[in-house]
């Protein structure tokens, strides 16, 4: 009976199935849509708004890639994934690109056969505690109850940190950020740990954000970045350089507002190369000349995306910190477009 169901399903699927092939770029073009894996909802990074449109920091990367490849920043199918499903979804070809605040680690890059194509957010794991608890350092947390999201690297970092400092704790694993917040506010855990950006985002939604502080320790490196399947290097190049274009655009002062003017009047050869008025960078990665221009116009350059979704003006209120351009003391450093 198993078979008849599956054959039946295949008949239905066959009516809508697209062409199969190894080259992701061809698949995406044939489909006319980019399948992009995002979180099921994390304010600022990827969450549907009241109209059901996805917006956020990771979402912007998807839109930029769609704009570069398909010339339409809305030609994206956002596929919500959980911590559990994200890797299968990518490995099985359900999504072309995973932009889901995923930490770049050795084993994910090698053993799981993925390629991280860069870092769009340098994060680190922190702790949030109520001010009333009177704790000023994570090392004072001996014996504390800690809320931690399961299935993330934070869980492993937490275990390592407490082990390294030879102090004990009691983990309360939680499924979603919303539940972590509920547990933390009810006092079911003394401290909530996740990426510092996530903590800031969570604290912003509290009734009295001032009653809670982030501890100074950042206990891990969390380079978050988009990833693609290992093996299709052409596709990886496209996504990598789209991200680089967003970063470089900020460094070069290209914004979505002045891009037309810059294209027309620039004297900087690198800007000209990026905008496709000089050289043929686009052709080298299998796209047309204006790919990076479209990518930047989609949601703006890196700085604009940051400011719009998670920057200090937003409820999330994150400072640039490590995510400033290298010229401003940050880590963002796009290789030259040449």
């Amino acid at each position: 009976m198993k078979k008849s169901v599956i054959f039946g399903a295949l008949t239905v699927a066959g009516l809508t199935a697209g062409a199969a092939g190894a080259a992701t770029l061809d698949d995406v073009k044939a489909r006319g849509k980019l399948n992009c894996g995002v979180t099921t909802g994390l304010a600022g990074f990827a969450a549907p708004n009241a109209n059901g449109e996805w917006e956020g920091f990771d979402v912007a990367v998807c839109r930029a890639v769609a704009a570069a490849v398909l010339s339409d920043k809305n030609a994206v199918e956002f596929i919500p994934t959980t911590g559990k499903t994200r890797f299968t979804a990518l490995a099985s070809g359900e999504i072309d690109l995973l932009a889901r605040n995923t930490t770049w680690t050795f084993s994910r890059d090698t053993d799981l056969k993925f390629d991280f194509i860069g870092v769009n957010y340098y994060d680190g794991q922190g702790f949030m505690v109520p001010k009333a608890l009177g704790v000023s350092s994570a090392k004072d947390l001996d014996g504390a109850t800690v809320c931690v999201q399961t299935g993330t690297t934070t869980e492993l970092n937490l275990a390592d940190f407490f082990r390294a400092n030879n102090i004990s704790y009691e983990p309360v694993p939680i499924e979603t950020n919303a539940e972590g917040q509920q547990q933390y506010l009810a006092g079911a855990c003394d401290t909530y740990t996740t990426d510092a950006s996530g903590l800031a985002a969570t604290r912003a939604t509290f009734e009295t954000p001032g009653d809670h502080i982030l501890l100074p320790e950042i206990i891990s490196k969390e380079p978050l970045g988009p990833l693609v399947r290992h093996g299709d290097n052409d596709w990886g190049d496209i996504v990598r350089w789209t991200l680089n274009a967003l970063v470089a655009a900020e460094e070069l002062g290209i914004t979505s507002a002045n891009i037309e003017e810059m294209t027309a009047n620039t004297t900087n050869p690198e800007v000209a190369r990026m905008m496709g008025t000089e050289g043929d960078l686009g052709k080298m990665i299998g796209l047309d000349a204006e790919w990076s221009k479209r990518a930047i116009m989609a949601e703006g350059n890196y700085g604009e995306i940051f400011a719009k979704n998670i920057g200090e003006e937003t409820p999330i209120g994150l400072a640039r910190g490590l995510n400033a351009q290298w010229t401003d003391g940050g880590l963002l450093y796009a290789p030259p477009f040449r």
Partner: protein, 404 residues
């Protein structure tokens, strides 16, 4: 279809495979087997091709690697350096623990509610009907979420026990109900405590022996011995006596607020309690219906006949109604136990570290070995279910009405 004379052996025609009942069954089975093999070949070759394309392989070596994460409630030794396999064992034991506890309490809830639904008290009857309908008609997943939220929001945090004028106090100075769990005193085994334990075990045996003797006496001589009070006395008195004779060797360690949490005593974590309670009260509603149906299935004539024989109401219940009702109640009861075990896989919603949360959750997420983890997970549940249904079959056979 069939004829009286045997068809000629020589004249085998191909159509006989379809029309001749002697061959048709073989044809059908060959077709079925062929389809099955084809389906498995189809799925298997797809799997192989897909894995090859993704550059992945099937390997169980991750089970030996350190798990790297901590678990809050473990009954066996476990640290973050233990292997993934050890984490899976922790999960298995936690699954069995919550399933076992929930089976007991669900039965208690169910029997009480089922009996009260047949009560002649209108208010109680209606109240129980509302309980049963509300819990049966709302998904268990929603109940688990609601009860977990109630647990965390409405019970006090350990903080509330702190300070000069705490907003919450410990019950009898021994029990603390917090939203991180319930803390109860733990026994401390001093020298000589083994004697007390041994006496206790012996007195349990004594109770059974006394009951057997009473039954035997009843059958042999017709004399009725009182059983309840003597049983209670045999159960408690010797142990208490020995306890004081030995100089109170078993002490209690009380939980006390130290640092961030209560220390000492036994902690029963909030996730365990929430899951335990949610499963019990949800399944209790189903068991209540089974109990009611079982009691109603015993025809009134049975109890009337027993009354006509001169049995007292308590004995009618024990000797006539219950044995017959249990035959109806127990098979669905066991499948409810099976359901509890399977529903305990929703532990992941409350952060309880059962097998689905460790092996099928965190280990799967951290290693990315989806196929391997889910396969092992299914094998585990399959073993549990088959064991329980095996037990049920034995029971069904033993209580089958002997038709002579």
């Amino acid at each position: 279809m069939t004829t009286l004379t045997d068809p000629d052996k020589e004249s085998f025609r191909l159509s006989m495979l379809l029309y001749d009942t002697r061959y048709r069954s073989i044809t059908m089975q060959v077709i079925a087997l062929g389809l099955l093999v084809a389906a498995f070949w189809f799925l298997g070759s797809n799997l192989a091709a897909n894995l090859r394309a993704a550059g992945l392989n099937i390997s169980y070596s991750f089970l030996g690697a350190p798990a790297g994460y901590d678990i809050n409630q473990t009954l066996i030794p476990y640290t973050s350096r233990s292997s993934n396999l050890q984490a899976a064992w922790v999960g298995i034991i936690n699954t069995l623990l919550v399933a076992f506890l929930a089976c007991i309490t669900a039965t208690i809830f169910g029997v009480i509610a089922g009996v009260l639904r047949l009560s002649n008290n209108w208010l109680v009857r209606k109240l129980m009907a509302v309980y049963v309908e509300i819990f049966r008609n709302i998904p268990v997943l929603i109940w688990i979420l609601i009860i977990y939220t109630i647990m965390t929001v409405s019970t006090p945090a350990p903080n509330a026990f702190r300070g000069e004028t705490p907003t919450s106090t410990m019950f009898l100075d021994a029990f603390a109900f917090t939203n991180r769990g319930v803390y109860i005193p733990a026994p401390v085994w001093g020298p000589g405590s083994m004697v007390v334990v041994a006496t206790f075990v012996l007195s349990i045996i004594g109770v059974f022996a006394y009951r057997r003797y009473a039954t035997k006496l009843l059958f042999d001589t017709g004399r009725l011995l009182p059983t309840f009070w003597p049983s209670v006395a045999i159960f408690f008195l010797p142990s208490i006596l020995v306890f004081f004779v030995m100089g109170s060797p078993i002490g209690l360690e009380y939980p006390a607020l130290k640092g961030f949490n209560f220390q000492g005593g036994i902690q029963i974590g909030a996730p365990l309690i929430a899951l335990w309670f949610a499963l019990s009260i949800y399944t209790g509603a189903f068991i209540a219906e089974n109990v009611r149906a079982g009691i109603q299935a015993v025809s009134r004539g049975q109890s009337e006949a027993a009354a006509a024989l001169g049995l007292r109401p308590g004995r009618i219940m024990n000797l006539v109604v219950l044995p017959q009702a249990l035959r109806v109640i127990i098979p669905p009861l066991i499948s409810q136990y099976l359901n509890i075990t399977k529903n305990s896989s929703l532990a992941i919603l409350v952060g309880y570290a059962d097998i689905t949360a460790t092996l099928g959750g965190i280990t799967l997420n951290q290693t990315g070995r989806a196929i391997e983890c889910v396969t092992l997970l299914m094998i585990f549940y399959l073993i549990i279910s088959l064991t329980i249904s095996f037990g049920m079959n034995i029971y069904n056979n033993s209580t089958k009405l002997k038709e002579r």
